[in-house]
Amino acid sequence: MNIHPLIVEITQIAVLLVAAPLFTGWVKMVKCWFQGRTSPSLFQPYRDIRKLLAKDVTLAENASWIFRFTPYLVFGVSIMAGGIIPILSMDLPLSATADVIALVALFAIARFFTALAGMDIGTAFGGMGSSREMTIASLAEPAMLMAVFAVSLVSRSTSLSQMALVVSQGHAMLRPSLVFALLAFILIALAETGRVPVDNPATHLELTMIHEAMILEYSGRHLALIEWASMMKLFLFTTLGIASFFPWGIARNDDLVAVLAAIPVLLFKLGIVGVGLVLIETGLAKMRIFRITEFLGSAFLFATLGMLSFFMLE
């Protein structure tokens, strides 16, 4: 039975909004288990967001409209991206809105404004966070493009639905180019979503924080939106990886059963990715900021190898 594509789209965005905090909660929980600590509840992120939404906003006197506009923009961009990435179905009305390059640019505009907001108040921390975030982003971008390039060689397309479709139709054989691209993508995703070893989302230590330094002055509903959006960003990068490299289980059309079946498959994959992420985060220490060049340099190298191996082996 086919359902209206718009319903699929709305379902997908609803899944994004609901599952993103859940995924963050899951990662935190597994991390606590691995580190031998008592974990907070799986639903703690929801409580945090609800608490922040209920609070008043404390705003610095010299904050401009950019500071107040940024949380809404970042949130809006995340929702838009959630409508584009094939999370549940490959046949989305919005999927043609942006290919993967335009999607990366959508995230870039959110980052651009977050960095501006960091500089808006005029504290040393804000500027430090903005400077570091933009530095890391500049190094991640070429690697990201090369990874996209390697994947698009296989699917002859940069459209996300098309990429997912081609990979899911292909035999489950091991394509060396995709393996290298996946390795590169994992490194880039760690950098882009601000996880250990590039940034630590749990820290508020002056010298190590990057993303947290930019948003240090936020409070109340603004902070709620930013936190929610960064949870969505982690979720979206995960689903972007799933759609490009492990698209099996994502519905290919608007069939009701297929779309409904995609949800448990997605949750299963997210569970596994969460454990993997925790393994990386507990296994590695945070890097010094100038070591990140090498980290992202190796991501670039992996992606280039992926491209070369496509030309040589496939």
Binding site: T58, N62, I66, M80, A108, D120, S130, S138, P142, I289
Partner: protein, 681 residues
């Protein structure tokens, strides 16, 4: 006589000529002069835009032979699609800048007369129009010189400052070295067109019809590319650009950076695609490599600047690089007869030409507004201007977002098209190119990410935070005309970014004429909302949906969250419980770029000095620190300093012959005559 594109162009020139005629009359009343100058230049530019849009869409070619010039060598004028497109590029920004000039030039009232500025602006604009209309080498070079000379005087406008004179002199030298190179290139083509007999080959038509032998064609191309590169500011011929653009009045910088550089792009496209026409792939590769180097080096040098206008000037180097990337790819695709992809790459390059004109013009106008209000170019003295100049800040931000290639503004569309052209390069039949070209795409990605970092710095340090400078003078927003000029440019940036399919459809016949392929059918195959350059399955981008979608979510979230009356408490800045936070604790432009300066430091020559004042009793407790940083262009030291040194050495040697004694000079003359007599027996 019915209305035609050519008539509009003629009107445009007549308006400029009229302005030049009435300048002597209006000299005594500077206010009227500024008004007449701005109004007439705006009308002239608008007429050119109308003519250009009309020509590109209708394809009507008009040509005329003017009974001017030397005997038997009349001037040829031709208005075709390529000229039409560049008329639009030049005219559109010039009309916005003319409105802006109205307010900007008023700043000089009572300080200095602006007569020369208005006169040379008119000549400059006329020169640029004439360059793209020229249809023979003679008038092309006359127009080229007219443009170069008038812009020299514009750079020199505030000539009491030594740096302005130095910059103008450097600009003059590089412009002329470039002009010689272009002249030689035309010489090669014109000479071979008539087998070095007679002068008939100087018309572009004769050059078009001649198929040059490969060696001569390469010579002509290399000379032309070198000459036009000097004008465009391609690395390593870029050093004049960050010197000359910042010191010119801001409305002139906007025109120089926004459109004058584009005449060089026009020259490259005209010579390569139209006059020579047939070329091997490595020409394209050469253009591509120079484009990539310019893009990356331009943005890296820009990051190191703390002078707002200098920063913008280095970004022109970067963007010229991006345009050349598109053109280089188009040349590679053309040489392999892949006309569809060539059309895509060419459209990407030309679209970026138009976009860069608009956003760079906007940014220079914004920088000019800041300069107008604060009398300051050094970003380290600024900060918090968004509170005093909300309009300028918002419009400058639009320019920043455009140049950083972020959706939904126009810079993103053309860079996205360039990426698509890159991603299609694996279909080239050469394995070497298949492997190397994607690395170029990675460099382009690096460039646009660094540009974003640079504009977070530029906007953040200038407009956000709080004032860093020592002089806390009163700052107020600029007047309506300057705001209107910027607003129109910003709206065009947004419009071109949201409606790219319409522009591409309009430009498509031009690409078809030059590259032989058409992408209009596939690019807007799914209606005007979806940009699908080759096929929908390949890649698609819908700017209107992305823009309206994000906007809708922003509005809905805002409304939902404000349904509950939640208070916003404005409080003083949290200072972590220490003593008061001061303005000097903010990140500065220099500190913002520090991580990138360290990562890419090997590309610059950096001198860093820390002095302790006075020498502290213990190194842990310095009383005062003095930090000095100097970042210099390596190319200056590698390429230019030796030339400067050599010419000084040579002139000192020659200078020994000058004693100031008349007897010695008479001996020189006598010896010269003797030598001449011996050789010309």
């Amino acid at each position: 006589m019915s209305l035609s594109p050519f008539l509009l162009v003629a009107c445009s020139f007549l308006l400029l000529a009229f302005l030049l005629l009435i300048i002597p009359v209006l000299r005594s009343n500077q206010k009227h002069l500024i008004f007449a100058g701005s109004a007439l230049m705006m009308l002239s530019a608008l007429a050119a835009v109308a003519a250009g849009i009309w020509t590109v869409s209708s394809g009507a070619m008009s040509r005329v032979i003017l009974p001017l010039g030397l005997p038997d060598l009349p001037f040829h004028i031709r208005l075709d699609r390529l000229s039409g497109f560049f008329l639009v590029v030049i005219g559109l920004l010039s009309s916005f800048v003319s409105i802006y000039s109205l307010g900007y030039l008023k700043g000089y009232l009572g300080l200095r007369p602006v007569t020369s500025l208005v006169a040379f602006s008119a000549l400059f604009l006329g020169g640029m129009f004439l360059v793209v209309l020229a249809d023979d080498a003679f008038i092309f070079l006359v127009a080229w010189e007219m443009m170069a000379a008038s812009s020299y005087f514009l750079v020199l406008f505030e000539d009491e400052r030594i740096e302005n004179r130095r910059a103008a002199f450097l600009y003059l030298i590089v412009a002329h070295v470039g002009a010689i190179s272009i002249l030689l290139s035309f010489g090669v083509m014109a000479g071979l067109a008539t087998d070095f007999k007679g002068f008939g080959g100087y018309a572009f038509d004769a050059m078009r019809e001649t198929a040059l032998p490969a060696g001569w064609a390469t010579t002509a191309f290399l000379l032309a590319f070198a000459g036009f590169s000097a004008k465009a500011g391609v690395v390593p011929l870029h050093v004049w650009l960050p010197e000359a653009h910042p010191v010119a009045p801001s409305n002139v910088s906007a025109l120089m950076s926004g459109v004058m550089l584009k005449t060089a792009i026009y020259g490259i496209v005209r010579v390569v695609f139209d006059l020579i026409g047939d070329f091997p792939w490595w020409w394209g590769a050469l253009v591509l490599v120079f484009g990539l180097v310019s893009a990356v080096m331009g943005v890296l040098y820009a990051l190191m600047q703390h002078d707002l206008k200098r920063l913008l000037a280095y970004h022109s180097v970067e963007n010229i690089g991006i345009i050349l990337i598109g053109i280089g790819l188009a040349m590679i695709f053309t040489s392999f007869d892949m006309s569809l992809l060539a059309a895509l790459a060419l459209i990407a390059g030309l679209f970026h030409t138009l976009n860069h004109a608009l956003f760079k013009g906007l940014l220079f106008m914004g920088a000019g507004a800041v300069l107008h209000a604060t009398h300051e170019r050094n970003m380290e003295e600024m900060g918090g201007l968004i509170r005093f100049m909300p309009w300028t800040a918002a419009l400058f931000l639009a320019g920043c977002v455009s140049i950083s290639a972020l959706p939904p503004f126009n810079g993103f569309v053309s860079e996205w098209l360039t990426y698509q052209a890159f991603l299609l390069s694996p279909s080239l039949p050469s394995p070497l190119l298949n492997l190397l070209i994607p690395l170029g795409a990675a460099l382009l990605a690096l460039t646009s990410a660094l540009a974003a970092a640079c504009f977070v710095k530029a906007f953040g340090v200038t407009f956000l935070g709080s004032r860093r400078g020592r002089h806390h003078g009163i700052i107020h927003e600029v007047d309506w005309s300057m705001r209107t000029g910027m607003l129109l440019a910003a709206l065009s940036c947004l419009g071109l970014g949201v409606m790219p399919t319409l522009v591409i459809k309009w430009m498509d016949p031009l690409a078809e004429e030059l590259a032989g392929g058409t992408i209009a059918a596939s690019a807007s195959g799914f209606g005007w909302m979806w940009l699908t350059p080759i096929a929908a399955e390949r890649a698609s981008y819908s700017a209107p949906i992305a823009f309206l979608g994000v906007l809708a979510v922003v509005i809905i979230t805002y409304v939902v969250l404000h349904a509950r009356p939640g208070a916003i408490h404005r409080v003083p800045l949290w200072d972590c419980g220490f003593e008061k936070v001061t303005d000097r604790m903010q990140y500065t432009a220099t500190s913002f770029a520090m991580p990138l300066r360290r990562i890419f430091g090997y590309l610059f020559s950096i001198k860093e000095n820390v002095h302790h004042y006075p020498p502290a009793s213990h190194p842990a407790f310095p009383e005062r620190l003095h930090y000095h940083l100097r970042v210099r262009d390596r190319f200056w030291m590698w390429l230019y300093q030796p030339v400067v040194d050599a010419s000084f050495w040579l002139s000192r040697r020659i200078g020994r012959m000058q004693h100031g004694r008349i007897q010695v000079y008479l001996i020189y003359s006598f010896v010269t005559i003797l030598v001449l007599l011996i050789f010309s027996r």
